[in-house]
Amino acid sequence: MKPKKFNKDQIQKIILSVLGFIGLIYCYFTFFLGPLDKSRATMSASIAEVQAKTASSKTEMKKTANLELQAKEATGRYEALKATTADGAPIAWFPPKMRTFFGEQGIDKVTARLESSAEFKQPELSDWVKDTWAIELPQSEYAALGNAIAQLENSEPLLAINHLVIHAVPEEPQYQQVSLLAQTALFKK
């Protein structure tokens, strides 16, 4: 059988068909399937990202809930320590508080004045201020003084006596003159 030869017109038509086919494939992949695939890939990546974020968030929330349980004691304690700071400027309430406290212990005429106020070096105590108070007890018996200091140290956990001077009053040997330098940690309100 003799192979059929295409005439010129037919060859032109075949070339046109091939060109049409190539054009169709190009348009299909470039303008239809390509963008669709791209958007699908983007969405799949977004889904993975959002799901990962959601999963990690749920883990984070569980951790926070556990932390809340663990921190229950610390939170209660922190609140109790915060409550040791009264409202208002410390200079307004601390000296009367000391006067009342020592008065209840049988030591009168107590004066307290603010010596210095500074920030703590520890970054954890950025909400707290370190105040140093000079407390003068002009007339106190030794036993009453000891009891008062013990009470003060037990009832004021954030108060530390850094300097203590006791001198006998020459005219009244049963009395001592006492100076205290007390450092307090007070919550900034």
Binding site: K13, A80, I149, E153, I161
Partner: protein
């Protein structure tokens, strides 16, 4: 042999040529292929729509969770800050030097023939050690011996509760004046004692420390 004439030869040939027209065949092929591609595109578009709906669902869930997790992160940071602050405050409380027990020990060491006239105590900033100066008078036949007895007793008592206790005389001098002790004029000596100690408790006191800290915590919680 009979002669056969096909008068329709021209028409048949044209019909065949029309049927084998490459352009027509190509258009048919392209149409068929195009249909396949369209179906494939449709399938992909359907999948994409499904993925979009999944994404919307995931985004909606995230939007629900996001405020909660932001609040949880904020709370966690706050809790960590509270825990850290409480630890530091507890350390400040536990590292305090309690003067009351110290004063009680000094009082217990003072014999009737010794009078303490002054006490100056300091917490040394930095290492937290304690430096105390005690001034007083000792009266006895041998007043220096009475002062030395007081020094030794004080050191012995302080060593029970504190570490690295040193009690030394800074000054010890006989006084010319006699003091009246139980109605008897008695020679006296004036002394100045330097005391240094490390407030960190020794082994015996260490056992008591957690109890003391717990007691202090309880008291703070009651406030």
């Amino acid at each position: 042999m009979a002669l056969q004439l096909n008068l329709l030869h021209e028409e048949i040939s044209q019909e065949r040529q029309r049927k084998r027209d490459p352009l027509k065949l190509g258009i048919m092929g392209l149409s068929a292929f195009g249909l396949l591609l369209f179906l494939y595109y449709g399938w992909n578009a359907y999948q994409t729509i499904q993925i979009r709906s999944q994404l919307n669902a995931a985004t909606a869930e995230w939007q629900k969770v996001e405020p909660k997790v932001t609040a949880a992160q904020k709370r966690a940071a706050e809790l960590r800050q509270i825990i850290d602050s409480t630890k530091v405050l507890d350390a400040l409380i536990d590292e305090r030097f309690y003067w009351a027990p110290f004063l009680a020990q000094v009082a217990h060491c003072v014999a009737p023939n010794v009078q303490v006239t002054g006490l100056d105590g300091n917490v040394i900033e930095g290492d937290g050690s304690i430096a105390v100066t005690i001034e007083g008078l000792a009266a006895a036949r041998e007043p220096r011996a009475a002062a030395e007895e007081f020094r030794q007793l004080l050191m012995e008592q302080l060593e029970k509760n504190y570490k690295d206790v040193k009690v030394t005389f800074r000054n010890l001098e006989d006084l010319d004046t006699m003091v009246n002790l139980s109605g008897q004029p008695t020679p006296s000596a004036r002394f100045v004692l330097n005391i240094t100690l490390d407030p960190k408790s020794n082994d015996t006191a260490k056992k008591e420390e957690p109890e003391k800290a717990a007691r202090k915590r309880n008291e703070a919680e009651k406030i």
